[in-house]
């Protein structure tokens, strides 16, 4: 269980987040929504222990993130950052195996590591590409391999920064279903920065809306994701399209 208490985040000249209190429980799926530069990534980094907040604290299972040895924390919280570019010359399988680092001791690759990597590649539909050199893949394929590395890491909380980048519509849905299933069936938690409000409404049960003035609304996705809030969030007129669950917005 991840808990943020009185969390304050700012970058020079801007307060991104003021006194945020949230609790993310096993099995929950959270969306972080906001305009460009509203601090979604900064918040994700603070909640995953990659950034020290200006004040306030984040704890996992009752213990502050900073008190965990790094590798121990990496077995609990995994992060899919936005693509930083990479300097990696090996194969897809070798790449995914690096995700096992927090679980392995010493040099070798254990049978368990190989199994986890193979299973992760199967889950993103890249098993038959395992022997390919990573740099020969397309952007979308690479993104799926990056997701596979995170699956091989097998943390209890997945922190995803724009997990759908480069993915086509079909693979977007597949990726979200995968994480949804990990939450529902294995009791893991998912926190993701998304731009697609439609997907947020369909796959997430909770939402964090980061308004431009540093105000943050958090709570149930079905309550927060409505036309009024989204128009204010994106500062853009929206029109709601009638769908079965009534949660699809397009620019007016």
């Amino acid at each position: 269980m991840l808990r943020a208490q009185k969390l304050n985040l700012s970058v020079p000249g801007k307060t991104l987040c003021r006194d945020l209190d949230i609790v993310i429980k096993p099995g929950e799926c959270w969306a972080i929504l906001g305009r460009n530069g509203s601090g979604k990534t900064t918040l994700l980094h603070a909640l995953s222990g990659l950034r020290v907040p200006e004040s306030g604290g984040v704890s996992w299972a009752g213990k502050p993130l900073a008190d965990y040895p790094r590798r121990d924390l990496a077995r609990q919280i995994g992060v899919l950052p936005q693509d930083e570019g990479h300097e990696f010359w090996g194969t897809v399988l070798e790449y995914v195996l690096l995700g096992r680092y927090p679980h392995s001791r010493g040099f070798g690759v254990s049978g368990e590591d190989e199994e986890a990597a193979a299973s992760a590649l199967r889950q993103v539909g890249m098993a038959d590409m395992a022997g390919r050199t990573l740099i020969t893949l397309s952007g979308g394929e690479r993104q799926r391999v990056r997701i596979a590395m995170l699956l091989a890491q097998s943390p209890q909380l997945y922190c995803l920064d724009e997990p759908l980048q480069h993915l086509d519509l079909g693979h977007q849905a597949e990726a979200l279903r995968l994480f949804r299933r990990l939450a529902a069936e294995e009791g893991r938690a998912v926190l993701m920065v998304l731009h697609e409000t439609l997907w947020a409404g369909r796959f997430c049960d909770h939402a964090l809306l980061l308004y431009d003035n540093g105000e943050i609304a958090s709570g149930s996705a079905s309550e927060l994701l409505n036309g009024e809030n989204l128009e204010r969030l994106y500062q853009c007129g929206l029109r709601e399209l009638p769908t079965e669950d009534g949660r699809c917005w397009v620019p007016a």
Partner: protein
């Protein structure tokens, strides 16, 4: 999986065999060519003859120095390519050689003895390392700033080197140019370079997985449990020590540090666990052979070994690059 396990071991044996062959070749050829049998007999200490003297006193120290320097340059290149996440990085990219060169050439202008020149080069290298570290790692530090700091300092040192060459008496310019292009003729004590080679290789081997992960980007590496900043500082100092040792021993030998790691990668080794030892062996063999050629091609005159590493290395790497998609 069997294949991927056995293949590196095969290549490691091949590289070790090539290393031994290069050392023996280096011992056999020179201003006097020695029969292979005599060299081997001399090595195991049979018959105290002129051959034994040539092998043990003259050639072995130089050949062993050349091997260690080549290994160090390749290692430093591979480490810096991982640290800066830049395939263009080479051991000299952070300006360490420039600092050493300015100090060494100054010592030459003042007419100091060879030992003092080496000592001065060491001082210059250490000063450059300290300067790059202080500027590049200050305020949290990021690798782009480290790289820019190194490149800018290199350019500055380059200007000073040109200035020194212009001001130097003509009789000294030739010696200075030799130093700048890499020259193993003064290398007589391989002990220290071997010590640093083994230490740097041990560090790289120990951190091999972390080095692989560092290539994924700092955020990803941290999220996987790597202590990124201490690792970066460790790599910086390991690569700096390797570079400084070579520069002091043999001046600035180009191309080994840039091309040998790529050569090993083009053979299909990307993980540092295999890349580093293979690069060290390949770099050592390469420089040993290049130095043997430098001593023999126009014997009794010797060529700067840096000229040969470039002349041999450039076509080799271009050929390999053209074959890979």
């Amino acid at each position: 999986m069997n294949l991927t396990l056995h293949l590196p071991a095969t290549w490691l044996v091949l590289a070790a065999a090539a290393s031994i062959a290069s050392v023996v070749t280096g011992l056999a050829f020179g201003s006097v060519d020695l029969p292979l049998g005599d060299v081997l007999r001399a090595l195991i200490g049979k018959d105290a003859t002129l051959v034994t003297d040539i092998v043990w006193q003259l050639r072995l120290p130089r050949v062993l120095s050349a091997f260690a320097c080549g290994g160090l340059l390749a290692l430093a290149g591979a480490l810096l390519q991982a640290l800066l996440r830049n395939p263009l990085a080479d051991p000299y990219i952070l300006g360490i050689s420039g600092g050493a060169a300015v100090a060494a050439l100054s010592a030459m202008i003042f007419g100091l003895a060879a030992a003092a020149v080496s000592f001065s080069a060491l001082g210059g290298a250490l000063a450059a390392v300290g300067l790059v570290f202080a500027l590049g790692f200050s305020r949290g530090g990021n690798m782009v700033r480290l790289l820019l700091t190194g490149v800018v300092l290199s350019a500055g040192f380059g200007a000073l080197i040109s200035l020194l060459l212009t001001l130097a008496p003509e009789t000294q310019v030739r010696g200075m140019l030799f130093w700048l292009m890499g020259d193993l003729s003064q290398a007589q004590a391989p002990g220290p370079v071997w010590g640093i080679l083994l230490a740097a290789l041990g560090f790289g081997w120990w951190q091999a997985k972390s080095l692989d992960i560092l290539g994924l980007g700092e955020l990803k590496a941290r999220s996987l449990g790597i202590a990124v900043r201490p690792l970066q500082i460790g790599i910086f100092f390991a690569a700096s020590a390797a570079t400084a040792a070579v520069v002091v021993e043999a001046g600035t030998i180009g191309f080994v540090g840039l091309i040998v790691p790529h050569f090993v990668r083009l053979l299909g080794f990307s993980g540092h666990r295999w890349l580093l030892p293979l690069a060290a062996l390949a770099g050592g063999s390469f420089l040993t052979l290049a130095d043997t050629l430098a001593r023999t091609v126009v014997a009794p005159q010797q060529l700067p070994v840096g000229v040969l590493t470039a002349l041999l290395g450039v076509p080799l790497l271009l050929f390999l690059l053209s074959r890979k998609p």
